[in-house]
Amino acid sequence: MAEEVKLIRTWSSPFALRIVWALKLKGIEFETVLEDLASKSPLLLQSNPVHKKVPVLVHNGKPVSESLVILEYIEETWKEKPLLPEDPYEKASSRFWAKFSDEKLLPSVWTVFISQGNKQEEALVPALENLQFIEEQLEGKKFFGGEKIGLLDLAIGWMADMVSVLEEVTGLKLIQEDKFPLLSAWIEIFADVPEIKESGAPREKLISKFQAIRDAYAATK
């Protein structure tokens, strides 16, 4: 059967990158449709009328939105090289932490990087707490998924690129090796996986982008 798989994304969206990783890890051929969010295409607006956001996966003409929902869809549609464990409790744990990553961890880390001075000091408290929770999840494991990359690694994978870019832009080292040895080790192994390595956005471009965002926040205070 001819499969048509399209991924609508932007060059920098970390949520879209999760989908690129999942498709590559499962060996699924796909076409990328790059969006300019300042000028959203009719395809995007049709495919995701509710949120009008990327990423959207379009499989044989049918759109799926929301990156964690897309990951579950990919997992259930292409069963080779599973990303989720079989055991329902382990699965629940992956889902819990993926949700935590999106709802708590990422926003708290982001806030640290766009804040300045006292506000940044304050923002560090929840961010470090959240990082500690994640650090503990790696106890005795190589990847969050265990011996192999799993859905949770993909969900937290934004840390591998983004954190080092943000650290460079702000000069603040958030994930210190002595405080977060497991997370530091994971970032290195994760970034080294071939499908991950070949997929990243150009680092210099990311640095310019986040520098501009941080400057804009500082200017609006």
Partner: protein
């Protein structure tokens, strides 16, 4: 089969979601009512990250976050499925569940409870409800012919919202503007399992009244 416990609060729609799913599947469980102003050591042990209810504990294994719990229940007890078989339909159910939790619930709580004089908040909530209204077109339940994940996740809209409107006079979810949602709510509440899982309306009305007078609108 194992021991199933639910740490919850009966007046919480999030807590009730878990009870509906367990009852639909005929699973026996112990319900432990938490006092949120004085959380039990067990709750804090089972959900150290968020310290919230509901938490499902199955054979001593705790699971938190109602959507995660519902998926776990679905995968562990296969009778009376709440998710369809087809991966695309499952993705749609998950999409709508997320939409309800991340967009509708905050907007509804703002419009109906926290900022109940705020016209803009009410308009924004109405826009989101319209999206759900359209999704129900031609369907008895969000899940199709039977109650499914999305119906369970929409429980606040199906039950709590109507009762709050009754107390405050808010006219947000009305038959004129949302005929599908109102009809859905009626069908949803006709299920004896759903009714059993919710606190009786007089209890909830009393709770709503006292909460509202203790918490004036912003």
């Amino acid at each position: 089969m194992g021991e199933v416990k639910v740490f919850g609060v009966r007046r919480s729609p999030y807590s009730c979601r878990v009870e509906i799913a367990l009852k639909l599947k005929g699973i026996k469980y112990d319900f432990i009512e938490e006092d949120l102003s004085n959380k039990s050591p067990l709750l804090l042990k089972y959900n150290p990250v968020h310290k919230k209810i509901p938490v499902l504990v199955h054979n001593e294994n705790p699971i938190a976050e109602s959507l995660v719990i519902l998926e776990y229940i679905e995968e562990t007890w296969k009778g009376t499925p709440i998710l369809p078989e087809d991966p695309y339909q499952r993705a749609m159910a998950r999409f709508w569940s997320k939409f309800i939790d991340e967009k509708c619930m905050p907007a509804l709580l703002k419009a109906a409870v926290k900022e109940r004089e705020n016209k803009k908040a009410i308009e924004e909530a109405a826009e989101l409800l319209k999206i759900l209204e359209n999704e129900l077109e031609g369907k008895k339940f969000f899940g199709g012919d039977n109650i499914g994940l999305v119906d369970i996740v929409a429980d606040f809209i199906g039950y709590w919202l109507g009762l709050i409107q009754h107390v405050t006079g808010l006219e947000l979810l009305t038959k004129e503007k949302f005929p599908n949602l109102c009809e859905w709510s009626h069908e949803f509440l006709s299920s004896s399992i759903v009714k059993e899982s919710f606190p009786p309306s007089d209890h909830l009305l009393e709770y709503i009244r006292s909460w509202l007078s203790a918490n004036p609108s912003k």
